[in-house]
Symmetry: C2
Subunit: 205 residues, 2 copies
Amino acid sequence: MTDPRFSTKQRILGAAEDLFARRGFAGASLRQVTSAAKVNLAAVNYHFGSKDRLIEEVFRRRLDELNAGRLAALKRALANPRPELEDVLAAFINPALELCLDKEGGAAFVRVLARAYAEHNERLRKFLSDNYGHVLKEFAAAFAKLLPHLDKEELYWRLDIVAGAVTYAMADFGVIKRRSGQSEREFRERAAEHLIRFAAAGLRE
Amino acid sequence: MTDPRFSTKQRILGAAEDLFARRGFAGASLRQVTSAAKVNLAAVNYHFGSKDRLIEEVFRRRLDELNAGRLAALKRALANPRPELEDVLAAFINPALELCLDKEGGAAFVRVLARAYAEHNERLRKFLSDNYGHVLKEFAAAFAKLLPHLDKEELYWRLDIVAGAVTYAMADFGVIKRRSGQSEREFRERAAEHLIRFAAAGLRE
DNA sequence: CAACGCTTCAAACAAACGTTTGAATTCTAG
DNA sequence: CTAGAATTCAAACGTTTGTTTGAAGCGTTG
């Protein structure tokens, strides 16, 4: 994050991601961010314009890739002539899991994402819905085909619950801690497995 | 909230609850709180000592009652010789639902509670676990009896997922909006029904 | 090397922050 | 009615906040 191989912009984004995850958008100051990134305070306003726009860029950097991954995984799942419910769930969850495990700062970002929900910030919600709403639409359509016994309202309710459970579990808000012998990857993969099985059961009824 | 029938202390707690829900703990300032409560700025430090202790009191005021309600409902559910899984889930969820619907500011508080999860704040987590951890233990024991086919680890995973879904749904982080013809009460009760059915299916597998 | 645009920098800005103070006011006993 | 405690109040404390400024440094291009 402070690695001088990375550009000033990247270092700021990395430090902001980490601090927003740990202290929230209001709780993390630009001085804390720039000091962690080892850049000058004014660099944020030079490169991003304002703190609000920095927050948006923290989202954009990850979500473009995450949502592309989710759509690609969905496409692969639906290539199968008789896709299983679990496959579509995995198409939604696994790219987020990979983000957590493989990308530097990915785990922090997932917590930032969960914070965005809690913020209830209209500006932020509009930004997310404008830029990434179509992804959720495509998944909703796929689930609708696999669950023809559910009417539209019933389906939306359940998807909303699934989204909540996924967000919460990925951000490890829960109380379950990784066991000492267990690797971070093992732990996360187990969490995803449980999540998929649980959500599938709840969706099917 | 600004009603002069209420004491200074109560007005501060009410205003703080509302503003913490909307802007977070760091995002809501004591000046905003005292101005909304129509009390003097210094009143917070006079009555509570500090902002941190005000935050704790916002939790304590509601959680004492909420958790007492949950334990009472659990006891009633277990009075039945063959209690259903749905009854225990309802014992956990319905008191939170009542808080949302019947208590002034209850809906705001549920969102404050969801923020506490997002905060990952060690001090806050310890406070909550010290004061209300025993409630979760009792529910876990009740679920364990009803789901003997699940080993301890499996059960804890699923309860963690349920807790996440409940928190998320109660704080209405989701995208589902109340229909125009529907009352807040109807809407919330539907949400709780869906939640119980979904969670029961996921727990039973 | 000179001139240029891009980036970094230390310093300062006004505003807002949590907290403290000491005097004014209100309430409560005796 | 009065003494003393409890509460409210305006004002100020020293920090920290996001943002702006103008000069200094940098690498590229003519």
